[in-house]
Symmetry: C2
DNA sequence: GGTGCGACATGACAATAGTCAAGTTGCGGT
DNA sequence: ACCGCAACTTGACTATTGTCATGTCGCACC
């Protein structure tokens, strides 16, 4: 971790930003910084956890291979987000695998460093819990989406999360390729294509990896409407 | 918490069993003990968290109401299990609602008690993280199931989790009614019925709330087989 | 011992998503 | 500039699931 730029990104991460300065310094000085190429494995399911991971740049996916061979994408992380906190403290194997889906920079904080610091200051524990809770919450939201919404609605919600605008029209860039988006939303690439087609009548134009939304509120209404009444 | 029986159940809970004796005593002496009737609400989504909850008897479901009115069951807890740990420490509203699905006994540990104890002893934090991680893990597993398995396979896996036997034949009791099982597995009651029908040819007989499995290994094979090749 | 209600099963149908196959397109390598 | 590949789209078909309607059964309540 020689570069000041990366240190400052790390400080802004959800995991570290609420910690007192002295601890952040300790953690950063023990952290390992690595780059990954697209498609490279960061760790494998069932492997023993060695570190907590903070994404500094690029995109990382967490996924699970089921015994029958199909892949379920559990989540996708980018700059400032961290993963592996909970598993780190329990000395159990990873329940998922992690892979870089674009060129990435990832910071690894070795677990022993974290544990010893945690015994000194309970604030660290609370901070880790906060990050873990964020994941928990997002998984709950995903479960709800899968169980209660159609494919097209999930895509609509996905697009809405990408917009920062509040109302009116908006253009967003799809952050990673469509195969991964499909996986993240629990469908096949073909179904994603069709979902996009279905959103066309309500003002969504897809061009390459750009999406144009003519009216956000229309899309928002659609994403929460009852599937049976459309 | 006047009753010794309940205290001893609480001590066996995942949350408390690994804590040092003195802390358990403190927590128990501040805990509130309550009974709930079937269908009674324990807390509502968006409500501010007041306590961590430990189920002593009966069954509790956590669920989310989506804006369009449909209900997604997130998890179901029973004796010895706890929920609400993560949200407790962040002063944020509950992301889910909780309801008793059978007559229940639930112990509530007020959050301030927990926080002050946590500042005294970091072990408490680790213990809470452990419980939280268990939930995280189970949510990840659920996501995988929903995305990569058919309805009948999810039912098969649900039945396998209920058996304690390792091989051969086995009879299990369905722990709660079929409507809730359906919700827990992300399907409608009708689909659950059909899933049971589909499991009949491979040796599963359903009678009331009893399930007879003629050969566990056959069922296990089925639950992990590729849906396309059956 | 009725009576009525809710849980559950089943059939017919519609909607949704997966599968397979056949293009099209964009892009990197030569 | 050409080639080849992988991502993406589209169409036809199938499978799975939700919806609606109907019927049975068990059980609490009078």
């Amino acid at each position: 971790m020689a570069h000041e730029v990366q240190k400052s990104i790390a400080r802004q991460s959800l995991l570290l930003k609420s910690l007192p300065e002295q601890h952040v310094g300790t953690l950063l000085s023990h952290a390992i910084w690595r780059v990954y190429e697209r498609g490279e494995t960061i760790f494998l399911q069932e492997e023993k956890a060695q570190a907590v991971h903070v994404v500094l740049a690029g995109w990382v996916k967490l996924f699970r291979m089921s015994p029958n061979g199909s892949e379920a994408v559990v989540s996708v992380f980018t700059r400032g987000e961290s993963f592996g906190e909970a598993v780190a403290l329990r000395n159990v194997p990873y329940p998922v695998s992690a892979e870089a889906v674009s060129p990435c920079e990832v910071m690894h904080i070795p677990i022993p460093v974290l544990i010893s610091l945690m015994k000194e200051d309970p604030e660290i524990g609370i901070s880790i819990l906060a990050a873990t809770f964020t994941h928990l919450h997002s998984l709950v939201a995903q479960l709800e989406q899968l169980k209660a919404q159609t494919g097209a609605q999930r895509v609509a919600e996905f697009l809405l999360n990408l917009c920062d605008c509040e109302a009116g029209d908006c253009e967003v860039v799809l952050p990673y390729d469509k195969m991964l988006i499909a996986g993240r939303l629990g469908m096949k690439p073909e179904s994603l294509s069709r979902a996009f087609t279905r959103l066309k009548p309500i003002g969504v134009k897809i061009n390459r990896n750009h999406a144009e939304i003519s009216d956000i509120s229309v899309l928002r209404d659609y994403s929460v409407s009852d599937p049976t009444e459309t």
